[in-house]
C-alpha cells in the first residue's frame, strides 16, 4: 500500500520535472529514490508522517536546485585560487550545529591574494550565529591560532543569488604558488528541524538536517570530505550516495575530487536527538558593579523547549514511573558554569525560591545545576531568575586613569541558544565617559537605574545581541572613569539621614509647642526653668571658686618646695581679682533667687552654700597670708605649722560642708 502510494507520487514528480526539464534535477531524483528505499525499510513511522517527510525533502531538494542553477560560470578572480583540500566536520550532537571546515588554500595565479571568500547558503545563513576564521600553523593537524581574522560580507558578480559570501582578510598576501591552512568555524541555531513537528509524551524527538555533500565554494575544490557527527542514538535515514559510510555515530561523505566552483549535492539526515533544546527567548543579564567589593549578576531567563512540539496530554504518573521512556524528549535540568568564587547564589521565580538546585565548586569554577518546576517538553515555557555575586578584584581593573570591567558576554548555561540577549552593565553612580568594547557587533545604548542610596541614578550601558550561542562567551570590556571619592556618596547619605534626625530632635526640644501661653501651670513651669537655670549658673560659679582655692593651696605647696615668695604673691593677686569678679557675678543670681517665689524651697540651701563658701574663702586667704608672712620672716617649718593649724582644721571642715551642699544643689 505504501509502496503503491510512493510510486504514484514519484510518477507525478517525474512528470513535473519533465515540465521543468533539467538534467540536473533528474540526478537529484535518483538520489531521492535511494532515500526512499531506505525509508521504506524502516517500519516505525506511520504512513502519514512518511508522506510529509517526502514532501519536505522534495521541497528542500527543489530549493537547492534553484539555488544551484545560475552558478556555473566563475569569474577570473576566483580562478586564481584553488582549494587543494577541504575537510568538513558537522557536529549534530546538540541543538547547536557547529561546522568546522579546514581549508588548504593554494594560489595558482601570479598576483598575491589577500582575501579568501567563504560562502554560506541563505537557507542556513539566516540562522548563522557565529563565524570565525583562523589560520592554522604547521602541517596537518597543527594547532589553530585563537585569533580570528577580520571577516566582511562580500559581493561577487557571478555568485548565485541565494548565497551570502564572506571575505576573510589574510594578515599577509598569499603569493604565487604558496598555500595556507585556514580553519573556518560556523555555528548555526534553529537549523535542525524537528520532524515530525508534533510528538506525544512517549515519542522520541527526530530531527532533519540538510546540507550539501560538496563544499559550496566559489573556488575549485580538488579534494574534499564531509563527516557528520550524530548523537549516540537511532538514525532514521540518511541520503545514501556511492561514497557514504556510517561508522558508529559518524556519517562520512567523500572523498570527492576536482569539483568546479559552486558544486552542490544536497543530503538529508533524519536522526534522533534528545539533548536539551533549551532556547532562551529572552535573557536579560544585569551586571551591577559595587566598588565596595562586589559584582552582582542577575539573569532573567524566559526559556522554551525549542524542539518538537508536545502533543496530547501529559501524564505525570507515566513520567515519574519511567522518565526516560515516557518523556525522552523532555529535559529536566540545566547546568550553569559560574565563575570561581561565586557566592550568594539564588534561583527563584515569581512565586519564590525554587528549591530543586544543586551547587558545588572548586578553585576553577562553580557549578550550578537547576531544575525547572516541571519537566520541559517541546514548546513548554518557563521563566526564572538566577543571581550570584562575584568578587570585585577578579573582574575590575584600572589602567591609565580609567577603570574597566572585564567579564564574559553570554549566559553561563551549557549549550543554551539565546534568541535575544540584553547585557546591562550597571556602573556606580558618578561614572563618566562610559564605553564598551565587544569583540562582535552589538546594538548598544545607555540608561539610568535608580537603586539603593542613589539620587541621580546609576548609568547603565545596555548591549543587545540576537542569536547568541556559547561561542559568544567571550570577554568584553566596559571602560569608565570614576573618582574614588564618589564612593563616599552612599555613606554620606546615611550620615546626613541620621544627622537630620538628631537636628529634628534638637529643634523639637527647643520649640515651644504649648497652646495656651498664659495658663498658670505654663507660667509656673517657665519660672521654674528659670530658677533651675539660675541655680545651675550659681553652681558653676561656686565650683570655679573652689577651683581657685585649690590653686592657692597649690601655690603654697610650691612655696614650701622652692621658697619663691614673689611667685606666691603674684598668684595671690590674680586669685584675688578672680574671686572678686566671681562674687560680683554671684550677687544678681542670689538676688533673683531671693525674689523668686518658685525658689522659696531651694533658697535656704543656696544661701547657706554662699555663706559657707564666703567663710571658706576668708579662711583660705587668712591661711595664705599667714604662711607667706612666716616665710618672709624666715620662720621654721614647725612654727608655720603651729600657726596655720587652727585655720587648716576649719578649712577642712568647711570644705566638706560646701561639697555636700554642692551635691544637694546639683540634684535640683
Amino acid at each position: 500500500m505504501h509502496r503503491c502510494n510512493l510510486r504514484l507520487k514519484r510518477v507525478r514528480e517525474v512528470r513535473w520535472l519533465r515540465l521543468v526539464g533539467s538534467p540536473l534535477r533528474l540526478g537529484l531524483l535518483k538520489l531521492r529514490e535511494n532515500r526512499i528505499m531506505t525509508t521504506t525499510t524502516t517500519t516505525t513511522m506511520t504512513s502519514r508522517r512518511r508522506r510529509r517527510l517526502d514532501l519536505l525533502l522534495f521541497l528542500s531538494v527543489f530549493t537547492f536546485a534553484i539555488l544551484l542553477s545560475p552558478a556555473l560560470s566563475s569569474s577570473s578572480d576566483t580562478d586564481l585560487i584553488i582549494l587543494s583540500k577541504v575537510d568538513r566536520r558537522v557536529d549534530l550532537s546538540t541543538q547547536i550545529v557547529r561546522i568546522t571546515t579546514s581549508l588548504k588554500v593554494e594560489n595558482t595565479g601570479s598576483d598575491p591574494v589577500s582575501e579568501i571568500l567563504v560562502s554560506i547558503p541563505d537557507m542556513q545563513g539566516k540562522h548563522l550565529a557565529y563565524l570565525k576564521a583562523a589560520l592554522r600553523e604547521g602541517k596537518g593537524k597543527g594547532k589553530a591560532s585563537g585569533v580570528g581574522l577580520p571577516i566582511n560580507v562580500a559581493q561577487l558578480k557571478d555568485a548565485p543569488p541565494a548565497l551570502t559570501l564572506y571575505s576573510v582578510s589574510l594578515p599577509k598576501g598569499l603569493g604565487k604558488g604558496e598555500s595556507l591552512n585556514l580553519d573556518v568555524l560556523t555555528v548555526f541555531t534553529h537549523v535542525l528541524e524537528p520532524f515530525p513537528q508534533k510528538i506525544t509524551q512517549a515519542d522520541i524527538q527526530l530531527l532533519v538536517f540538510q546540507d550539501s555533500a560538496y563544499y559550496l565554494s566559489p573556488y575549485t575544490v580538488k579534494a574534499q570530505s564531509l563527516t557528520i557527527k550524530l548523537p549516540d542514538a537511532r538514525i532514521e535515514s540518511y541520503t545514501k550516495l556511492e561514497t557514504t559510510k556510517l561508522q558508529g555515530s559518524e556519517l562520512k561523505y567523500g572523498p570527492y575530487e576536482n569539483l568546479p566552483p559552486f558544486s552542490y549535492l544536497p543530503i538529508v539526515v533524519h536522526f534522533e536527538n534528545n539533548h536539551p533544546f533549551a532556547v532562551a527567548k529572552e535573557l536579560v543579564r544585569e551586571i551591577e558593579i559595587s566598588h565596595w567589593g562586589n559584582v552582582q549578576i542577575t539573569e532573567h531567563y524566559s526559556l522554551v523547549h525549542g524542539g518538537a512540539q508536545s502533543e496530547g496530554e501529559f501524564s505525570r504518573l507515566d513520567y515519574q514511573a519511567r522518565p526516560y521512556v515516557r518523556g525522552a524528549s523532555a529535559f529536566r535540568s540545566l547546568v550553569a558554569k559560574l565563575p570561581p568564587r561565586a557566592h550568594s547564589v539564588y534561583y527563584r521565580d515569581e512565586i519564590g525560591n525554587i528549591s530543586t538546585s544543586n551547587l558545588w565548586g572548586d578553585s576553577k569554577k562553580t557549578q550550578l545545576e537547576i531544575e525547572p518546576r516541571y519537566p520541559m517538553f517541546g514548546g513548554w515555557k518557563t521563566e526564572f531568575t538566577i543571581g550570584y555575586g562575584l568578587p570585585l578584584q577578579d573582574f575590575l581593573f584600572g589602567s591609565d586613569g580609567k577603570r574597566f570591567l572585564n567579564i564574559t558576554f553570554g549566559s553561563p548555561m551549557n549549550e543554551l541558544v539565546i534568541d535575544t540577549l540584553f547585557v546591562k552593565v550597571v556602573l556606580p553612580e558618578g561614572s563618566k565617559e562610559i564605553s564598551a568594547s565587544v569583540p562582535f557587533p552589538v546594538k548598544q545604548w545607555q540608561e539610568t537605574k535608580i537603586s539603593h542610596l542613589n539620587i541621580a541614578g546609576r548609568p547603565v550601558i545596555v548591549l543587545e545581541k540576537s542569536n547568541v550561542v556559547p561561542e559568544h562567551n567571550e570577554y568584553f570590556q566596559v571602560y569608565y572613569k570614576f573618582n574614588s571619592l564618589s564612593m563616599l556618596r552612599e555613606p554620606l547619605m546615611l550620615i546626613s539621614g541620621f544627622f537630620f534626625l538628631f537636628v529634628a530632635y534638637i529643634v523639637y526640644m527647643r520649640a515651644d509647642l504649648s497652646i495656651s501661653k498664659s495658663s498658670a501651670s505654663y507660667l509656673a513651669n517657665l519660672q521654674w526653668e528659670e530658677v533651675q537655670a539660675t541655680v545651675q549658673q550659681l553652681h558653676n560659679i561656686i565650683s570655679r571658686c573652689l577651683k581657685t582655692h585649690d590653686k592657692l593651696e597649690a601655690s603654697l605647696r610650691d612655696l614650701s618646695r622652692t621658697g619663691d615668695v614673689q611667685a606666691c604673691k603674684a598668684t595671690r593677686k590674680s586669685v584675688d581679682t578672680l574671686l572678686k569678679e566671681l562674687s560680683k557675678e554671684l550677687k544678681p543670681l542670689v538676688a533673683f533667687l531671693q525674689s523668686s517665689p518658685q525658689a522659696s524651697q531651694v533658697f535656704p540651701k543656696v544661701e547657706e552654700l554662699v555663706v559657707k563658701e564666703k567663710d571658706l574663702q576668708e579662711r583660705v586667704m587668712a591661711k595664705h597670708s599667714t604662711v607667706v608672712d612666716c616665710y618672709e620672716k624666715k620662720l621654721g617649718g614647725r612654727e608655720i605649722e603651729n600657726r596655720v593649724a587652727s585655720h587648716q582644721q576649719k578649712i577642712t571642715a568647711l570644705r566638706q560642708e560646701v561639697d555636700d551642699l554642692m551635691d544637694i544643689i546639683d540634684e535640683i
Binding site: E288, S290, H291, W292, G293, N294, Q296, S344, G389, P391, L392, Q393, D394, L396, F397, G398, S399, D400, R403, F404, S451, H452, L453, S484, M487, E490, P491, L492, L494, I495, S496, G497, F498, F499, L501, F502, V503, Y505, I506, M509, R510, E529, E530, Q532, A533, Q536, Q537
Partner: protein, 76 residues
C-alpha cells in the same frame, strides 16, 4: 601600563566586625545625646555640644549601617 586589579577599600571579611563596632560606638553616642537632652534645661543647653554629639554619632551610625548593609549582602 599593565592593568591593575581594583578591589574594595576594606576587605569584605571585615564588614560584620566593623559594623558591630561602629554601630556600638554610634549607639553609645546617641544614648549620650539623648541623656544630655533630657537632663539639661532649655536655658543651660549648649547648641554646640548638641550638634557635635549629633554629628559624631551620625558619622558612626552612618558608616555602621553602611557596613551592616554590605555585610548582609546589599552591595550599594
Amino acid at each position: 601600563m599593565a592593568p591593575k586589579a581594583i578591589g574594595s577599600p576594606v576587605p569584605d571579611a571585615w564588614y560584620p566586625t566593623l559594623s558591630v563596632f561602629t554601630l556600638a560606638i554610634g549607639l553609645v553616642l546617641t544614648a549620650f545625646f539623648f541623656i544630655y537632652e533630657a537632663t539639661t534645661s532649655r536655658k543651660t543647653r549648649s547648641l554646640a555640644q548638641e550638634l557635635t554629639t549629633a554629628a559624631v554619632a551620625s558619622f558612626f551610625l552612618g558608616f555602621g549601617s553602611l557596613f551592616l548593609l554590605l555585610a548582609s549582602g546589599v552591595y550599594v
